[in-house]
């Protein structure tokens, strides 16, 4: 199963993944229109540890505790991807309470958002991976 992996050795801390993610999930076709003047809410975040930076996004766990914990059945794992049915999510945030990576967050509407590997959005391929200038985030079998 392909997954998004992080090669922190190559992460430049440029934060482009965050912007590419926010853009890909904005539903808009122009990045400027999507992001200009906005506070972005990406599903991938750069964390820093000393001089080292790395991107963190949903691991799409084998046994995702967010799915087990979801009270509405909005979260499910399909073909290896933990997805959200935004119609069903009521915004109880139990998933945020349980995700060991801190990879689910609240969206502007009060429900949650998380990385869905861009499978359904304009990018169609993880935008963080596609836009990473140094292959610090990759989408591959390991």
């Amino acid at each position: 199963m392909k997954r998004v992996y992080v090669n922190e050795e190559w992460c430049l801390g440029c934060h482009l993944c965050e912007y590419n993610c926010a853009f890909a999930n904005s539903g808009l076709s122009d990045m400027v229109k999507a992001l200009k003047g906005k506070i972005i809410r990406p599903n991938v975040r750069i964390e820093e540890d000393g001089g080292i930076t790395y991107a963190v996004s949903c691991r799409h766990c084998d046994d995702p505790i967010c799915v087990s914990s979801c009270i509405s059945g909005a979260l499910s794992k399909n073909d290896g991807t933990v997805c959200i049915d935004h119609d069903k999510c009521v915004g109880c945030l139990t998933c945020i309470l349980v995700c060991p990576y801190g990879c689910v967050s609240q969206n502007e509407q009060g429900a949650v958002q998380k990385c869905e590997l861009c499978l359904e959005n304009i990018s169609g391929y993880p935008a963080c991976v596609q836009g990473c200038p140094n292959r610090a985030i990759v989408y591959e079998e390991r």
């Binding site: 992996y5 992080v6 090669n7 922190e8 964390e47 820093e48 540890d49 080292i52 790395y54 963190v56 691991r59 505790i65 967010c66 087990s68 914990s69 009270i71 509405s72 059945g73 119609d87 069903k88 009521v90 915004g91 109880c92 945030l93 139990t94 998933c95 945020i96 309470l97 349980v98 995700c99 060991p100 990576y101 801190g102 689910v104 967050s105 609240q106 009060g110 390991r142």
Partner: protein, 413 residues
Amino acid sequence: MKKFVIIGNGVAAAGCIEGIRSADSDALITVISEEKHPVYCRPLISYYLEGKTDLERIKYRPDSFYSDNGAKVCYGRKAVRIDAEAKKAELDDGTLLPYDALCIASGSSPFVPPFDGLETVEKKFSFMTLDDALELEKAVSRDSRVLIVGAGLIGLKCAEGLHGRVGNITVCDLADRVLSSILDGECAALVQRRLEENGVSFMLSDSAVRFDGNRAEMKSGRTVDFDILVLAVGVRANISIASEAGAECVRGICVDTKLHTTLPGIYAAGDCTEGEDISCGMRRVLAILPNAYMQGRCAGICMAGGDDTFDNAIPMNSIGFFGLHAMSAGSYFGAELGGEMYENKEDGKIKRLFTKDGFLTGFILIGDIERAGIYTNMIRNRIPLSEVDFELLKENPGLSPFGSAYRMSKLAN
């Protein structure tokens, strides 16, 4: 072909079905559902009232769930007796269901104290089931005065659900604060304030003692006039069928880490059980959803002969009122019990982290709940504080405090 019977049709039952199917693809599964609805999650009923979900979206699983999993559901039926010797469950219509393994997922029921004059109240409701919510919905009107007895999770969520649909809402509770089981005073005050800002009235350290028609007499002597009474005092695990069959029960049905009861072939999962809370080491009824599902699934796997263990239950709650989120998990030990607390308060937000004996044992977050799961995970998985940079972690839940090896194992493998 093995036969499995599941008593109950809640989230634990759904987990149980999925657990069985992950280990046994052709066993016969029978589900005894007292409620006439396919599985839904009870906490959603307040969101139903609020309009955030509806009868369609409230379904926990797709309509094809039972047929996809080859489970037969007996709707409106109740299991009345289990013959553990003969391995048979008897239904209220006399049907005898033989089983190879059985799972009791009977959940809990509202606990209603014996109020004087309660019988004189015309419109009184519990707030547990979807049917409760549907009836309540029918009963309320724009100018209804609602009295909710109980300022716990159920009572407050009911209040939020009814907000905007009724004239006024009063919540009373004997405790001195809201959500007394999970929040301390300061945190509770924040939540209470948010509710009050939205028009909910509180009568705390006070409660109804007697009812007379549409009037409640309070312990303090005050009276409250209401049109609708919601009783949300507490819940109790449904253990009778288990205890009558001879299973050991205390406040809930006693189960081990395989969700096995003390009777052969009989498992139990969900709100009706009690097991160890690893955040404090005590046996408790942990009537929360994540546990219900995970227990159900573990029970299902074990019933079908697979191997699974559920041994890291902790209490945890995520609850929000009018946009203010409160999260809590684990246990809080005061200094007198050797506990320590880290606190960070700012402008309508509170973060409290509780540690004891080198472990994070619990936390309360009000307002800023971002990445709370990183703390939860530390409690559930008993990650020693010595292995993390707790100073960093206190400020900023992230992966950095766990060090590079941990991070690499999670992100690069």
